[in-house]
Chain length 198, copies 2
DNA sequence: ACATTAAAGTACCGATTGGTATTTTAATGT
DNA sequence: ACATTAAAATACCAATCGGTACTTTAATGT
């Protein structure tokens, strides 16, 4: 163990809590006082641990993407399951995430994309980056599907990949507007009809 | 003409400008000073004309919906064109709105839905109300289409209506993330493949 | 001309904002 | 026992926040 006074709060837990506050209220809607109250870490502690508000927000968004986004993307990229299976599983996982009552509503990346603070352009950059990663992996998977013969050669694999990637944006907004499980899942059912038979 | 000193700025123009500022930067991200600078109307004038910040935001969002949303919804509701024609026209109109360089990016209703200020619950209520209106009209149109034989009877008209209504949410986020015309339109092309033949 | 009306403009209010300097507390190494 | 380390806690900063009281200006009605 280190030398000085022991930490009252685990920085990982603090970051997790801060993530949820930003996710729920946005960058502009969250004050440092909000974060102090929610995390239990005093203001100077937050600054010492995570830097200024913008830096803490970036770390929160990165944590969100790594913890909640990356597993879904890895599955989409690496699973050997058929295209309709992996695509549906991705969208349903997003839907389940929308319904998790231990987390704020919606998708933090979508919230951040939409808030798009003009006074803090770096925040827009990072959320666009994560949005792009999802898009790229969807496109890759659809191009692979075309090579595999899972979908016909005469369709625009890139456009289809982008379409399904964008369905998670719609789910993010629907989740933010308190859509129930039935609505989210019947939305996915309809979206899945886009997938052409091979 | 009235009695007192003439207005320097037309309240309609002021509201139009305020709408664009809120649309661009959100409720929490916009300060009264921002609005004073953008509109040219001094702060006491804004309060006298529109009430407090929350009230001005509501009027801005209502103006957005009436001016930009209602015409599209009226067309969707009243046009005698075939289902694929009116649906595509609706989505393409949304896409063109995303590309209008005289307006902020994205859709103000989507932005407002996603920001969803927890400290000002009325703002969430009104954006959800406008979102619901679009959904209702889409569902109506799909139910009508089913009666007309434009789509088969064995599909879930409500789910299809909600699906296409939600595509404008996706377009709103895509527009916010600076999607270009090609991406928006090929997105719509793919979405339109959902429409079943009669 | 002059009172009346209403908007513009200035100056200000307490509260809160993001951020920090300083002190106090609690552990460890010697 | 005591210096050292590091975090907690308090107190504070200038700037900005949403909102308002007050003064000034420019028009109209008589």
């Amino acid at each position: 163990m280190g030398r000085g006074r022991p930490r009252k709060t685990d920085p990982e837990e603090v970051l997790d809590t801060a993530m949820k506050v930003f996710w729920n209220k946005g960058f502009e809607g969250t004050s440092m006082s909000d974060l102090v109250c929610a995390t239990g870490m005093a203001k100077p502690g937050l600054y010492a641990c995570f830097g200024d508000k913008e830096s803490l927000y970036k770390k929160s968004l990165t944590r969100y993407f790594n913890n909640l986004g990356t597993p879904l993307l890895d599955d989409l990229k690496n699973s050997t399951d058929a295209l309709p299976v992996v695509v549906r599983r991705f969208l349903e996982s997003v839907a389940y995430s929308m319904l998790d009552k231990n987390c704020p509503s919606g998708c933090f990346v979508v919230n951040s994309l939409v808030e798009g603070s003009s006074t803090h352009p770096e925040l827009e950059t990072i959320s666009k980056e994560y949005d792009q990663k999802r898009r790229d992996i969807f496109i890759e998977r659809f191009e692979k599907a075309q090579k595999n013969g899972e979908i016909p050669l005469n369709i625009d694999a890139k456009a289809y990949g982008e379409f399904f990637s964008a369905q998670s944006l719609a789910l993010g907004v629907l989740g933010r507007a308190d859509a129930c499980k039935n609505k989210l899942f019947s939305f996915i059912d309809v979206a899945m009809t886009v997938l052409p038979k091979p």
